[in-house]
C-alpha cells in the first residue's frame, strides 16, 4: 500500500497546555507537548485543512476548517469527530470568540465562484442539532474584502471588535456599534519601507492592535474608535516582513517572528526592552501561545538551505538539525549563501560527508568538504575535518567505502576538474592531535575526461568511476587501474555494484536510456536493456536493486535482482514528477511477509522523495495495522494526568497493553527488563518500600536503559536526509 506523507505545511496551529494541533495537508496532527511525538491525526477532511481553532466554550474540542467547505468539530484528545458542519464554500480560515456563543467566523470567497481573489468574513450561526452532519447555511457577511491569510484577522478584547488587515488597510469592526473604522496607510514611505500589512494581533486586555508589516515594522494602534484621532507607535527590529505576531494571554508581552528566524519578545508598554530567541532554524511563519502562557510554539517554513534535517522515519519526527555551514544565516535577498550541495553517509552511519559551495558572480567558486563523526554521547554529529577547496571545480559525486569490516574508512569524490580523489581517515602524524582526521590518499584521472559518478563495491575492494561513457575500475588497495568497461554511446549517469550474491555485477545507467549490467569476473557485458532510468540504487541487505524510470511526467519503479532477468516488483506511475532521491532503510526487524509481491520489502523499506518534495514509502498491510494500533495506545498513555506516581503505574499498564497487543504485532519487542522491577515494586506493600528519592532514580534508570536500547538498535541509516534540492 502506498502511503503518502505530505510535506508539513503547518498552515495554522493552536497550542493548548499539553497538546499542539497543526493542520497538515488533509489532516490535523495532534502533538504532545511533553514528548513532542505526534499522537494521532484527525482525518476526515477531503481537501487541504486551512485552519484549526480551539472551541472557546470547550477547550477539549477543536474546530477545523478546510477548503472542502466543511467545518469539523473534534475531540482532539481521543481523535473523535463530533460534528461536521457543511458550509458549502471553500473556507480559508476560521475565527471564534467566547463572547459570540454558537457563532463562528469564516473567511470565504466573496463571490460564490472559487476563482475570485476577493474574500469576505462571514458569521455562521451553528445550528443546535444532535446530528453528526449538519448543514449550516445561515451566513451573514461581517466584513468584505479581507485577506485569506489566517494571521490577518483577529478578535479584540473580549470579542468586542474584530480587526482585519488587508493590503494597506486596517479595518476594525465593532460588534456593539456595528460600525467599522478603516485606517489606510501609504504604499511605501520615503525610506523605501513597504507598509503592506502582514499580520495582526490584539491585546487581550487593552484596546491595542499590533500589526506586522512587510518592511519589518510593528505598529501598535490605539484610539482606533476614532476616525481621525487614532494613533500608533512603531517598533522596528525585524529587517524583513513580520510574518506572525502574538500577545501572551496576560498581555504583558508581544511575540513577533519573521524570516530572520528569531523570536522577539517585546515588553508591552516598555517596548525598548526586548528579548530574543535566535537561531530557530528557519523562517517563522506562525506563533501560538498556550492559554497559560507557559509555552510558545513557532512553526517554520522549511527552507532547508543550510541545514540537514534528520528524520526518524519510523517515528515521524524530526530528530535534529545540523547546522553545517555554522554561519549565522543572514537572510538578505540577493546575498549568496554557502549552500550544501552534496552529502553522504557511510554504511554504519558514523560518518557524514558534506560538500558546500558558494558561487558568486565575480569571485571564484568556494568549496568546502566537511566530515562529521557521530558522537554517541551527545547523539549528534561533530565536525571532524574541514577540507577547503578539495577540488578545483564542482564535486559531481561522493561515496563512502561500504565495507563494514575494513579497518580504513575511505571516501571517494569526483569533480569536474577531471580528477577523482580518495580520502582516508588516518591518525595525525603530530601526536598532540587527539583523534584521526581525513586526508587525501590518492588522486586519479583518466584521459582528461570528467568523472561523473563513483561507487565502491560491497566489500570495498573495488572502486568504479565513470568518465563519460567509460567506466574505470580501480583497486583501492594499490590504486591501479584494473579494467575499463564501456558501452557507448551515452555518458554514464549512475553506477551501482550488486550486493551479496550479486556482488560480481556492476550496473550502470547511461544517458542513452540504457541499463547495463557488467560481469566483473569476465569483464564483459552481462545484459543490457533499454529504459530511461533516472535513479538506480541497491538495497544494502539484499540483492535487490531499485530503478526509477521517468516517463511522461510520471515515475515507474522496478525492483529486480541483477542476476535475474525478471523484475521482482514493478509499479507504474508511482508518483508524478521525477524522483530525486531514494533510500533503502533497513528494518529493525525483518518482516516475514509471505506475499511474493512484497517480499522485497522484508529487509528494508524504500523511501523516496519526489521533485515536489513529497516523501513516500512502501508499506505492507501488516505494518499499516500495527501503526494504527500503536497510535491508539499512545493516546491512552497521554490522556491520563502525568503525576509522578502515574509514571510508575502507567508504565506498568502500558506493558499490559503491549502484551494484549502482542497477538497482533508479534514481532514487537517487549520492553526492557526494567518492567519486571516495576512489577516487583508495585507488589511490595508501600510501607516496606524504600524512600521515594531512591525509587525515582530507579525509574529514571529504567527509562534510560530503554532509551539507549532504542538508540543503539536503530542504525543511523534510518536518518533520512531530506535535503535534496541541488
Amino acid at each position: 500500500k502506498l502511503l503518502k506523507r505530505a510535506e508539513h505545511i503547518f498552515r495554522k496551529g493552536v497550542c493548548c497546555c499539553r497538546f499542539l494541533l497543526c493542520a497538515s495537508g488533509e489532516c490535523v496532527k495532534v502533538f504532545s507537548t511533553s514528548t513532542e511525538e505526534c499522537i494521532h491525526d484527525l482525518r476526515g477532511h477531503t481537501e487541504l485543512v486551512t485552519g484549526v481553532l480551539l472551541r472557546p466554550s470547550n477547550h477539549l474540542q477543536v474546530y477545523s476548517c478546510s477548503a472542502d467547505g466543511t467545518v469539523r468539530l473534534w475531540d482532539f484528545t481521543d481523535g473523535i469527530l463530533i460534528k461536521t458542519y457543511v458550509i458549502g464554500y471553500p473556507i480559508y480560515s476560521i475565527y471564534a470568540s467566547a463572547n459570540h456563543e454558537g457563532v463562528i467566523f469564516l473567511v470565504t470567497p466573496a463571490q460564490s465562484d472559487k476563482r475570485s481573489e476577493m474574500f469576505q468574513l462571514v458569521a455562521v450561526q451553528l445550528p443546535q442539532s444532535g446530528d453528526q452532519l449538519v448543514e449550516a447555511r445561515e451566513l451573514s457577511a461581517v466584513l468584505s474584502d479581507v485577506s485569506s491569510n489566517p494571521a490577518a484577522i483577529v478578535f479584540g478584547r473580549g470579542g468586542e471588535y474584530i480587526a482585519s488587515a488587508n493590503g494597506l488597510q486596517l479595518e476594525v469592526y465593532f460588534f456593539k456599534k456595528q460600525k467599522a473604522y478603516r485606517f489606510p496607510l501609504k504604499e511605501d514611505n520615503k525610506k523605501g519601507g513597504k507598509n503592506t500589512f502582514m499580520c495582526v494581533a490584539c491585546h487581550p486586555k487593552d484596546d491595542c492592535i499590533a500589526t506586522g508589516h512587510e518592511d519589518g515594522k510593528i505598529r501598535l494602534w490605539r484610539n482606533f474608535n476614532h476616525k481621525k484621532e487614532y494613533t500608533y507607535s512603531t517598533l522596528h527590529w525585524h529587517h524583513s516582513a513580520v510574518s506572525s505576531l502574538c500577545f501572551t494571554p496576560e498581555g504583558t508581552n508581544l511575540l513577533s517572528g519573521g524570516i530572520e528566524s528569531v523570536l522577539v519578545q517585546w515588553r508591552y508598554n516598555q517596548e525598548s526592552q526586548r528579548d530574543f530567541l535566535p537561531r530557530l532554524g528557519a523562517a517563522i511563519t506562525h506563533i501560538a501561545v498556550s492559554p497559560d502562557g507557559a509555552l510558545f510554539c513557532t512553526s517554520h517554513s522549511d527552507n532547508s538551505k543550510d541545514k540537514n534535517k534528520f528524520y526518524s522515519l519510523q517515528r515521524d519526527k524530526l530528530l535534529y538539525n545540523l547546522d553545517i555551514v555554522q554561519q549565522e544565516y543572514i537572510h538578505e535577498s540577493g546575498l549568496q549563501q554557502f549552500e550544501v550541495v552534496k552529502a553522504a553517509f557511510n554504511a554504519s552511519g558514523n560518518w557524514l560527508a558534506t560538500v558546500e559551495e558558494r558561487k558568486q558572480k565575480a569571485a571564484e567558486l568556494e568549496l568546502n568538504l566537511k566530515l562529521w563523526a557521530y558522537d554517541e554521547q551527545t547523539q549528534s554529529f561533530v565536525l571532524n575535518t574541514t577540507i577547503s577547496a578539495p577540488h578545483e571545480a564542482q564535486i559531481t559525486a561522493m561515496c563512502f567505502c561500504h565495507a563494514a569490516d575494513s579497518q580504513t574508512t575511505m571516501l571517494a569524490s569526483t569533480s569536474k576538474d577531471g580528477h577523482f580523489k580518495a580520502w582516508q581517515l588516518a591518525a595525525q602524524a603530530h601526536t598532540e592531535d587527539e583523534g584521526p582526521s581525513w586526508s587525501c590518499d590518492f588522486v586519479g584521472a583518466y584521459h582528461d575526461l570528467v568523472p561523473e559518478c563513483c561507487c565502491f563495491s560491497a566489500d570495498g575492494s573495488l572502486l568504479a568511476v565513470s568518465f563519460q561513457e567509460v567506466v574505470t575500475v580501480w583497486s583501492p588497495a594499490s590504486w591501479e587501474l584494473l579494467t575499463t568497461l564501456s558501452q557507448p554511446p551515452g555518458a554514464i549517469r549512475d553506477l551501482c555494484f550488486g550486493r551479496l550474491s550479486c556482488s560480481k555485477y556492476l550496473l550502470g545507467t547511461s544517458a542513452n536510456n540504457l541499463l547495463c549490467c557488467w560481469n566483473l569476473l569476465t569483464c564483459s557485458l552481462e545484459w543490457s536493456t533499454s529504459m530511461d532510468v533516472s535513479l538506480l540504487l541497491a538495497d544494502p541487505l539484499s540483492e535487490n536493486m531499485a530503478a526509477f524510470c521517468c516517463q511522461a511526467g510520471c515515475t515507474d519503479l522496478f525492483v529486480f535482482k541483477p542476476s535475474e532477468p525478471r523484475p521482482l516488483f514493478s509499479r507504474k506511475e508511482v508518483c508524478s514528477g521525477k524522483v530525486t532521491r531514494a533510500v533503502f532503510a533497513p528494518r529493525e526487524e525483518m518482516l516475514e511477509s509471505c506475499e511474493e509481491s512484497s517480499q522485497w520489502l522484508n529487509h528494508s523499506q524504500l523511501y523516496f522523495l519526489t521533485q515536489y518534495m513529497d516523501l513516500m514509502t512502501f508499506t505492507t498491510k501488516a505494518e499499516e495495522d500495527r501503526l494504527m494500533a500503536s497510535s491508539k495506545q499512545l493516546v491512552i498513555d497521554d490522556s491520563v494526568a502525568m503525576t509522578p506516581f502515574y509514571l510508575l503505574l502507567g508504565k506498568h499498564r502500558q506493558q499490559e497493553n503491549q502484551d494484549s497487543l502482542g497477538g497482533m504485532s508479534a514481532e514487537r519487542t517487549p520492553l526492557p527488563q526494567g518492567s519486571v522491577a516495576i512489577r516487583e515494586l508495585l507488589q511490595t506493600p508501600a510501607h516496606v518500600l524504600p524512600s521515594t528519592s531512591y525509587l525515582c532514580s530507579m525509574f529514571v534508570q529504567s527509562l534510560l536503559i530503554s532509551a539507549k536500547d532504542i538508540l543503539s538498535s536503530s542504525p543511523t541509516e534510518q536518518f533520512y536526509l531530506s535535503h535534496s534540492r541541488l
Binding site: 486586555k205 484610539n223 474608535n225 476614532h226 512603531t234 529587517h239
Partner: protein, 683 residues
C-alpha cells in the same frame, strides 16, 4: 526660456546657527526661535510659517530659554541676564541682571504676572511683570545644585524645578519646597554621573513629566511625589519636552535627533481613566533636538542641525493638504546676498562680517549644459569685519559698486569703495536720523541711500563725494508701528516701494518726496517686491505664494494680475513651501519676470498663456523633447528651472548673464559637529 551664461556661485559659506530655544505663542500663533549666536527669529504660523522678524544676535548673549508673556517676549541666558525684546524695533528693549549666575531656564505663570528663572546657584528667582519693566520679587528656597528646568502648574500655585538628580516642587506662595522627587541615574558606566533633568512639564492634573540625561521620560504624580511610569526613550539625553495646549499629547526631543510623541489615551475604548502611552517617533534631525514646541496641529522641532522642522500631526490636520506636509526651514526668508548688477559684484552678509566678491569671467561659448572655461576666477575683494558687539542685521551694495552700507541695531555704517587699487573708506559723518536701519537700499544711480527706520518710516540720504545729507523721512499714512522688511527703488529713480510686517506696501514718489499710493493689503506678508523698469508695474509675491501686479500709474491691479487671480495659480505652485525671496527683470525682454525660492528659479513670461489647472507646471524637460511647432502649443507662462538647488540668490547682471548663489544643504551638514554615535543595522 532663453539661454543664459550662468555664474554658479558656491563660495558663499553661509552657515546658519544652531537652534537653542523655542517658544510658541498660541494666541498670536507666533513662534520665537533663539539661535546659538543670540539671534532671535519670529515665525508667523498663521501665515505659512513666514519668518517675519529677525533680531540679530550679539556677542556674549547666549540665549538658553525663551518665554512669551502675552505679546511680550523674554529671554534668559548663561550671561545671567533677562532680556525683553522690542518686537517693533527689532532690538532688545532692556536687560536685567538676575544675580544668580548663569540662567538655565525661564518660565511665566499662566496668569502672566510672574516670571520665574532658574539659576546656577540653585535659586529660583521670581520677577514681577510690570507694564514697562520687570522687577525682582523674591527668591524661592535655595537648593544645592543648579536649577535646569522650570514649569509652573497652570493654577500658578506650584512650580516644579528640574535639577541634578532630582525634581523639586515649590509652593509659589510660601517659596518652600514641598516635594523632592529623586531621578534615577543611568545604568552601567553612567551610574557615577549625575543625571540632569533637562526639561520638565507640570500638567493641570498634577502630573509631572520629566526628560533627563539618562534618556528617560518619566511620569510622576505631583500630589504624592511618586513615580508613575518610566519610558526609556533613548540611550542618550532627552533634551526637550513640549505639551500640547489640551494636555493630550506631549513630545520629547532626544540627542539622537528623534522626537518621540506620547499621548494620553484610555487603554480600553470606553473607559475614562487614561494613561500616557508612547506612540509615534519622528526622525527629522541628524543632531540633538534642543528645542520643541507643540502647536495645535504640529510638532515644531529644532536643534544642532540648524533646521526648523514643522511636522504636522496627521490626526489633527486634513490629509493630503498643504497643512499636512512636512516643512523644513533651512534658510532665512530674506536675502543675505546683494548683487551690484552694473559692476558684477556680490556682497555676502554674515553675522559678524561682510564679503565683497567679483564674479568670474569667461568668453567661451558652449552648448546649453556645458561648463565654460573661466578666464578670470571669482575673487574676494574685501572682507569687512563689523565694529562693536552687535551682529549685522542688514547690508546693501550700490548698483555701481561704489558704496557699501550695513546696519546693526545700534548704528549704520557707510563705506566708499574704490576699485582701481582696492580701498575702502568709511563715511564718517552720517546724518543723525540714520541711527539704525531694518533694511537698506541704494537707488539705481547710486545717488541715494534708503534706510527703513522705526514705525515704517524710510530715511532718504543723498550721497556724493563730499558729503552725505539727510534729504527726507518718508512716513506712511497708516501709522503702522511694524518694521519695514522690504525696500525697492525703481530703475528710473522715481519710485520707492516699502513693505512692512503689517502686510502693507507703500509706494513713494521720490520726485515729489511723498506717498504715492498704498497697495491694497493682502492677508499674507509680502516676501519679495519689485518695480518694472519700463512699465512701472509693482510685482509682489506673498508668503502664501500669491503673485500680484499693481500698476503705479493707474493705481490698480493690472489686467494680467486680474487674469491670474481669476484663473488661480497652479496647485503645484501653491504647494511650494519656501517663499520667493527675490524678483528681477530682464532688460532685454520686458515681459519676463525672474523670481526664485530655495529650490527653483522661475521666469514668468507675461506674453504666454497662464497654465491651466490640469497642465504640467514643471514642463521644461518635456518641452525640450517636443518638436518646435508643438512647443508653442504646450508652453505656458511659468518656466521653472530646478537645475540649481538651495538657492540664496538669483540675479541678472547688466551683461545678461545670470548669477546663481547656491548653498547646498549637504555642505552645511558636513560642517556640523559629529552627531551622537548610533548603532545602525548591519554596521
Amino acid at each position: 526660456m532663453g539661454e543664459f551664461k550662468v555664474h554658479r556661485v558656491r563660495f558663499f559659506d553661509y552657515m546658519p546657527s544652531a537652534i537653542r530655544a523655542m517658544a510658541f505663542n498660541s494666541r498670536t500663533e507666533r513662534l520665537a526661535v533663539a539661535r546659538a549666536d543670540g539671534a532671535l527669529e519670529i515665525f508667523n504660523f498663521a501665515d505659512h510659517y513666514f519668518q517675519e522678524k529677525v533680531i540679530p544676535g550679539q556677542d556674549g548673549r547666549a540665549v538658553e530659554a525663551l518665554c512669551w508673556v502675552g505679546q511680550r517676549l523674554f529671554s534668559a541666558g548663561l550671561n545671567g541676564e533677562i532680556t525683553e525684546y522690542d518686537l517693533e524695533n527689532m532690538r532688545p528693549r532692556y536687560t536685567v541682571e538676575a544675580y544668580g549666575g548663569p540662567i538655565w531656564t525661564i518660565s511665566s505663570n499662566s496668569q502672566g504676572t510672574l516670571l520665574a528663572v532658574g539659576c546656577e546657584d540653585g535659586t529660583v528667582k521670581m520677577f514681577e511683570l510690570l507694564d514697562e519693566r520687570i522687577r525682582f520679587q523674591r527668591n524661592l528656597e535655595r537648593q544645592k545644585g543648579r536649577i535646569i528646568s522650570l514649569s509652573w502648574h497652570p493654577s500658578g500655585t506650584l512650580i516644579a524645578a528640574g535639577m541634578m538628580d532630582m525634581i523639586r516642587i515649590f509652593d509659589a506662595e510660601t517659596g518652600h519646597a514641598t516635594h523632592r522627587l529623586l531621578v534615577e541615574r543611568g545604568a552601567g558606566a553612567s551610574k557615577s554621573k549625575e543625571v540632569v533633568v533637562w526639561s520638565i512639564a507640570f500638567l493641570s492634573d498634577h502630573t509631572i513629566v520629566s526628560g533627563d540625561s539618562a534618556g528617560k521620560v518619566q511620569i510622576w504624580d505631583g500630589l504624592t511625589g511618586t513615580l508613575v511610569k518610566t519610558h526609556l526613550v533613548t540611550k542618550w539625553d532627552v533634551l526637550a519636552l513640549a505639551v500640547s495646549q489640551d494636555e493630550s499629547s506631549l513630545v520629547a526631543g532626544t540627542s539622537e535627533g528623534t522626537v518621540v510623541q506620547f499621548q494620553f489615551i484610555a487603554s480600553t475604548v470606553d473607559q475614562q481613566d487614561k494613561e500616557w502611552v508612547r506612540t509615534r517617533t519622528f526622525k527629522n534631525h541628524s543632531h540633538d533636538v534642543r528645542a520643541l514646541a507643540h502647536t495645535e496641529t504640529a510638532v515644531v522641532s529644532g536643534g544642532m542641525d540648524t533646521q526648523l522642522v514643522v511636522r504636522p500631526l496627521l490626526d489633527k490636520v486634513e490629509k493630503n493638504t498643504q497643512e499636512s506636509a512636512l516643512r523644513k526651514i533651512a534658510f532665512p526668508h530674506r536675502s543675505l546676498v546683494c548683487c551690484a548688477k552694473k559692476a558684477g559684484l556680490l556682497l555676502f552678509q554674515f553675522p559678524d562680517h561682510l564679503e565683497l566678491w567679483r564674479v568670474g569671467e569667461s568668453d567661451g561659448l558652449g552648448k546649453p549644459g556645458d561648463s565654460l572655461p573661466v578666464k578670470r576666477n571669482p575673487e574676494k575683494l574685501i572682507q569687512l569685519k563689523r565694529k562693536g558687539e552687535d551682529h549685522i542685521c542688514c547690508s546693501a551694495l550700490s548698483p555701481c559698486g561704489g558704496w557699501l552700507a550695513y546696519s546693526t541695531v545700534s548704528a549704520v555704517r557707510l563705506y566708499r569703495i574704490q576699485y582701481n587699487n582696492i580701498s575702502i573708506t568709511k563715511v564718517s559723518k552720517l546724518p543723525k536720523d540714520l541711527r539704525s536701519a531694518h533694511q537698506l537700499c541704494f537707488s539705481s544711480d547710486s545717488s541715494k541711500l534708503f534706510a527703513s527706520s522705526s514705525h515704517s518710516s524710510v530715511v532718504i540720504v543723498s550721497l556724493n563725494q563730499l558729503e552725505c545729507k539727510h534729504l527726507h523721512t518718508l512716513k506712511p499714512r497708516s501709522g503702522s508701528r511694524q518694521p519695514v522688511h522690504l525696500l525697492f527703488a525703481s530703475e528710473d529713480g522715481k519710485w520707492l516701494a516699502a513693505a512692512n510686517a503689517d502686510c502693507e506696501i507703500h509706494v513713494y514718489n521720490l520726485h515729489k518726496l511723498k506717498l504715492h499710493c498704498t497697495v491694497p493689503v493682502h492677508s499674507s506678508c509680502p516676501t519679495a517686491i519689485a518695480i518694472h523698469p519700463v512699465t512701472s508695474n509693482l510685482v509682489v509675491v506673498h508668503a502664501d505664494q500669491q503673485i500680484f501686479e499693481y500698476s503705479l500709474m493707474q493705481k490698480e491691479y493690472t489686467e494680467w494680475s486680474r487674469k491670474l487671480q481669476k484663473q488661480g495659480l497652479h496647485s503645484l505652485w501653491l504647494e511650494r513651501d519656501t517663499p520667493v525671496t527675490h524678483i528681477s527683470y530682464s532688460p532685454k525682454n520686458p515681459a519676463h519676470i525672474f523670481l526664485h525660492d530655495m529650490f527653483m528659479f522661475c521666469i514668468i513670461d507675461q506674453s504666454l498663456p497662464l497654465p491651466e489647472a490640469k497642465t504640467m507646471l514643471y514642463n521644461q524637460m518635456t518641452l525640450r523633447s517636443l518638436p518646435e511647432p508643438e512647443r508653442i502649443r504646450h508652453s505656458h507662462a511659468f518656466k521653472i528651472c530646478k537645475n540649481f538647488q538651495h538657492l540664496l540668490c538669483v540675479s541678472l547682471l547688466e551683461d545678461h548673464s545670470l548669477v546663481v548663489v547656491e548653498r547646498p544643504l549637504l555642505d552645511i551638514m558636513s560642517q556640523l559637529p559629529a552627531p551622537v554615535r548610533q548603532k545602525k543595522f548591519a554596521t
